[in-house]
Symmetry: C2
Subunit: 455 residues, 2 copies
């Protein structure tokens, strides 16, 4: 067991077992690169997350952040458990629809909702639209009037903690109150929620505490000025995972310029979901008491906290190359720049799946298949001695790996879910035809290639 | 005209004209985000490139680097002109095949060629396979024997200039000579080429000079030790474009940590294609004279130099948001993190396409539509005053924009080619169905979503 508290499950062959399956067998059966999702872990994570909040607070709803890992076969499992959907685009709303998520279990967020997007969301009857700006509130008002449909509205505010960015309404209570007063004249806008989202991979409960305080103050103000009752506090997502850590600036410089691998994250430096739940619900209760507010429903939009550690990415070592200066490269079939982008800014454990017990005695630059010197999964990483054919497991690949995956020279990998040792392919490896389904190939008659061949 | 020497073409409406077309009209017709390819510029670039080398050297062949912009509708135009294909994966070879590129006009490169990939390339009869390692040479030897097919082989060497990475054979002349002597026993391996590739966006001719010198020395050695006649020198690609520049470390820190936009690249700091041609061909001739070598065929694998400045990416400003601290955000429908990744490490000019003549009096953080504070196309960038509905043109988007594009919450953009004012859609915007063609949606009967809706 290492610092991250991870105790990999191993079978008699010294192979990594995940979701009850020998992952080396999975790699052989489905080929690599391959995403493997542990269905039980997924269900367990959802239940633990909901439970951590419900334990201390009555009205809690959880909406999985689709953008984190937008794989229908994974989302379907979460919806079976009762999880809602947090979507930020027409594409994501379409997926939720195809997954038959009840509209009232969908929250529509995002920074770039057009009039058409808003109309679509209203017509679909989504449970809540979190408005990002004054302009958007006007557009939503117009769209609701045009459709003559009542809509549940939340206001995304910038809680002045976490991300410094363009999201939400500036935390100017008077200005927001004035805006709400104007918008409130349209009786079709049912302004009932406040929303904040502070970041990604947050390892500190204070951000949430601060956000809840800002929301409570604003809620109180809105009751006074507009008589509006805010009954939904949406504290967003961003909950960190103990085993994954965003590299600090110092770590990034050390790693990328001087090939110094970052230290493993310390489990203790990240609050458990239970702590997040305890802190957020207690501050919420305190604030409600302080401002004499009726306790609102607590909405949560986790991504990484649910899927992050329930998925791994398997790659195969295709060749070992040693340079004269002693540098050893392990070339694999899955690259950072095409399918494992989070490795460029996050710490992820790497296990040798087919000899898990082997001691880490060597250092490798683990590369992908792309023709780019930056296509490095790991730099100067401590690993057991590697051989061609070895299978590496990149752990905690369930957040932002599939989201950022591209078609740089290769198809994107398949996804299998495993449960009690039974695997199910929920996303196929792309075929070349699928990769070019949007393309028009030149007419073979009109466009004959010219030139002469190599002698 | 600015430092980059760019003189945008403008019509009476003060709109940007590209390939003879009003790009604001194109944005209206096809929607944004949208890639626009100037077909004439593409043809001109190819001819100028080939001409710059042919002017001074007899035997020259050009192979477009597919990975740079793997759009069949664009590649087809280049092949019409007689350009060959440089491919690095089975997918790219498949595209060349569908585009009916004569096999002898295809070079197969790459760091990760499996036995199956090599067999496929041999069976297809590609003109040249550039081998990346000793292990690969053995695999190729086996594959050729199994198929009993003769194959043209180049050896990729690390010329010890440019990229420090895992590519090619270490530049140890004796070791390479020994390797070639062993491999040469298989008469099916026709070892006739040397290959090097030094980087991307190279703005210095010295890298190529050095590589040619290394190749010539090695060529001479191989003639002595193995009696092998190297008759193809492949100096790779990486030729810089005057108007695009990779940010230096200093510029990156200033830009990303302190929001100091990098300076515009100075056109004069990048050799013209004519200079690249002149320097490379003259050093090649000098070296051949020095080592008494018969002048080899010169192979070139440009990417950016051909397509980089023949394509632009149009995005629409959806909302302007001003923060209390004075920061102005222009939120657009195309993000850095989904469809414009090169903006994170390269300088690209940004033009206000619908008021090209307007003076740049303001500063904006131009964002994309994603829910991430890093989804910034431009930070603190000098631009004219922007309004909702404005169309921005990101210039020189013909290298690595489409390659790195992903499906993060949104479909990838369409591509139109324009020629003499006539536009042609060569890549459609992805439909949601296409985006999920690889996915299995849970069976609606067995998997009913649970949970209750928002009140």
């Amino acid at each position: 067991m290492n610092h991250t508290g991870r105790r990999p499950s191993i079978n008699d062959h010294d192979h990594l077992v995940y979701g009850g399956s020998d992952v080396v067998e999975l790699a052989r059966r489905y080929g690599t690169p391959l995403h493997v999702v542990d269905e039980s872990a997924l269900r367990r994570n959802y239940r633990a997350f909901l439970g951590a909040f419900r334990l201390a607070y009555r009205e809690v709803s959880v909406f999985y952040s689709y953008k984190t890992n937008c794989v229908p076969g994974v989302l379907g499992i979460l919806h079976e458990e009762g999880c809602g959907a947090e979507v930020v685009s027409p594409y994501e709303l379409w997926i939720a629809t195809r997954l038959r998520v009840p509209p009232s279990r969908i929250i529509y967020n995002g920074v770039n909702k057009s009039v058409d997007d808003l109309r679509g969301a209203i017509q679909h009857g989504v449970g809540l639209i979190n408005v990002d700006s004054a302009g958007e509130l006007h557009r939503l008002s117009d769209a609701a009037k045009a459709l003559n449909r009542r809509v549940n509205v939340g206001l995304r505010i910038d809680p002045a903690v976490g991300w410094v960015a363009h999201f939400g309404l500036s935390p100017d209570v008077d200005r927001i109150a004035a805006l709400v007063e104007t918008a409130g004249e349209n009786r079709l806008l049912n302004i009932r929620g406040l929303h904040a989202h502070m970041g990604s991979g947050i390892r500190d409960t204070r951000d949430y505490r601060k956000a809840v305080e800002v929301m409570a103050r604003l809620s109180c103000k809105l009751r006074e000025t507009s008589g509006i009752q805010i009954d939904q506090f949406d504290v967003g997502g961003g909950f960190g995972l103990p085993t994954v850590k965003t590299l600090t600036l110092r770590e990034t410089v050390g790693y990328k310029l001087f090939n110094r691998p970052p230290p493993e994250p310390q489990v203790g430096s990240c609050p458990s979901i239970e702590s997040f739940g305890q802190v957020i619900t207690s501050v919420l209760r305190e604030c409600c008491a302080r401002y004499a507010l009726r306790e609102p429903r607590l909405l949560l939009e986790p991504g990484r906290a649910i899927t992050g550690n329930a998925q791994i990415l398997l790659v195969t070592v295709c060749e070992i190359k040693r340079r004269k200066n002693g540098t050893a490269y392990a070339i694999t079939d899955g690259g950072m720049q095409n399918i494992a982008f989070p490795l460029s800014y996050e710490y992820h454990t790497c296990l040798l799946a087919n000899r898990v017990g082997a001691p880490s005695t060597e250092r490798y630059f683990v590369t992908g298949p792309l023709c780019s010197p930056e296509d490095l999964l790991y730099r100067n990483w401590k690993l057991p001695e590697l051989r061609e054919g070895d299978v590496l497991a990149i752990m905690d690949a369930g957040a932002y790996f599939t989201s950022f995956a591209n078609n740089f020279s290769y198809p994107r990998p398949p996804v299998v879910t495993v449960s009690d040792g039974v695997s199910r392919l929920v996303r196929q490896r792309e075929t070349f035809e699928q990769m070019t389904a949007v393309d028009t190939f030149p007419d073979p008659l009109s466009r004959a290639p010219g030139g002469t061949g190599l002698p």
